[in-house]
Symmetry: C2
Subunit: 307 residues, 2 copies
């Protein structure tokens, strides 16, 4: 069956100049001359955790699986080069599912000039699992790490936050072009993408940078869907709670020196809105300032729990 | 929990000069200067298909997951550079399992000078799934593809075949050094590793090379475990049947010009036994010659079945 799928995929995939050998051999062969440093990242998505296959078009699942990986490249300010895709497919309907997943990925790969280089197709009695590995190319400014934020740096975010479960988790645009444009034009110190939650991913960036952060509640861009979700749930949660902890926003958190942040907001170098939502501090920890004062903020968001 | 695992892994992993940034950021950063062409391969292994977690030390599972990927690099005659690892872990016992898998991988990674660059840890209610992606470096002779075999080329194999289920499937040594040494010294035309079965993987190489092959039954190196398995099963299967169709031998099938094959067998360039087991033919198809004559051979081996 794998042969049939490879044959189908070979027909569907556009030729890519970066691929000397594409899907179908023991490995793909990539032309990587002049790419001194590469970044490599993998994300695995599973049914019932990252999506509910019974409730969503599998093409959207395929798109999402690739998009979350592209978001990791964005967080490194790296240009997408190549992808390999591994799937564990349920036995029944596996072929149609595999094709639908690919159909969801291919337009996104083309949009980001990403070479789909190969993969591995498996069947089993378990639920769908998809693992995508991306190779990317850093800019001359080097990779954008989590570890470079300095006290005084402004916290700049792209887009808005919260309520992604309503729609955004499948339809988001990874901030690849934005990250490349901003990193090349401004002296960014650090960056991370928000996959698990604004507050938890900010805390991760702080930990790697050995600093803390203060958020200004009034400046946090709250998505319309965060308001909608708070209203629908009617469980006492506020739109701000959703913005801080929902996750799957796949926006960027950037550490930017104050003068560069000011310049960036004045120049509006990208279409996506940019907001200063706080600053990094010497003292480790996370705080939020609202109308009632300054409060310690417990990072909230998605974490894979296991014992 | 993922933080704890990353911290543990960072302590356990030796520093590697190829890693500018290792596990813990949004992606790993690899130093790849002077690596013009790279190969990239992924393999996903799942519980109940590639191993039975209840019956085997998870360190052996971890080792196997990495070794099957190294075998793909061997099949390309590529030197291992870097790996990223994604796991979907059962919720209970996931942490201990993740650590044991890593403990099984790390010695093998060190043996092959492979940088473990990063990964993604997930938990779910499904069984264990491990996906490893490797990046490799081709030799100045270029990658060893499946597509270069020519009629008249000898079929050369490393090692012996069959009965891998008894032991070899976990303990095999991927033929990385052998492939590099042989590819640099002899004019190899094509190669593949035997993951699914000698006959089925030979058929795959033939298909990509648009040729056929004739095997000489008397020259096929049969593993002791193939004989033992045939005896234990007592189901009418012969040791040769097991050698042709068992799979997970992770030996190499090479297409070698006749004079180079002769030279190779005389010179014995590697410790692993090399055998000429037949030749490639213009006519597509697979045949085997034994004491009773020449017979068409139906490729047998492991295939992921899905509909």
């Amino acid at each position: 069956m794998e042969n049939e799928l490879i044959a189908w995929l070979r027909e569907r995939l556009p030729a890519h100049p970066r691929l000397r050998v594409g899907p179908g051999d023991d490995a793909a062969v990539l032309r990587l001359a002049r790419h001194d440093d590469c970044v490599m990242t993998v994300d695995l998505l599973t049914d019932h955790v990252d999506f509910e296959l019974a409730e969503v078009d599998p093409r959207r699942v395929g798109r999402k699986a690739l998009a979350v990986n592209l978001s990791d490249l964005a967080a490194m300010a790296a240009r997408p080069l190549a992808a390999v895709i591994a799937v564990a497919l349920p036995r029944t309907g596996g072929m149609a599912l595999a094709k639908a997943l690919c159909e969801g990925m291919i337009p996104l790969a083309e949009e980001y000039d990403l070479a789909i280089a190969g993969g591995d197709t498996n069947s089993w009695d378990g639920p769908l699992a998809i693992s995508i590995t991306l190779l990317g190319q850093t800019t001359p400014q080097g990779p954008l790490l989590r570890s470079g934020a300095r006290p005084g740096d402004r916290i700049v975010v792209t887009g808005s936050f919260g309520g992604s479960i309503l729609r955004h988790q499948f339809d988001f645009d990874p901030r690849v072009e934005e990250a490349l444009a901003i990193h090349q034009r401004y002296g960014l110190h650090a960056g991370i993408d928000v996959s698990d939650g604004l507050s938890i991913d900010l805390a991760r960036l702080c930990r790697e940078s050995r600093c803390g952060a203060v958020l200004d509640a009034s400046t946090i861009p709250i998505a319309d869907d965060a308001r909608r979700l708070a209203e629908e749930l009617a469980d006492g949660s506020t739109p701000l709670d959703h913005a801080l902890g929902d996750g799957e926003d796949f926006e960027l958190i950037l550490a930017v020196p104050p003068d560069e942040a000011e310049r960036m907001l004045a120049e509006r170098p990208v279409e996506v809105p940019l907001s200063v939502v706080g600053r990094f501090t010497e003292e480790p920890g996370l705080w939020i300032v609202d109308a009632t004062g300054r409060h310690e903020l417990t990072p909230s968001g998605w974490e894979h729990e296991f014992e």
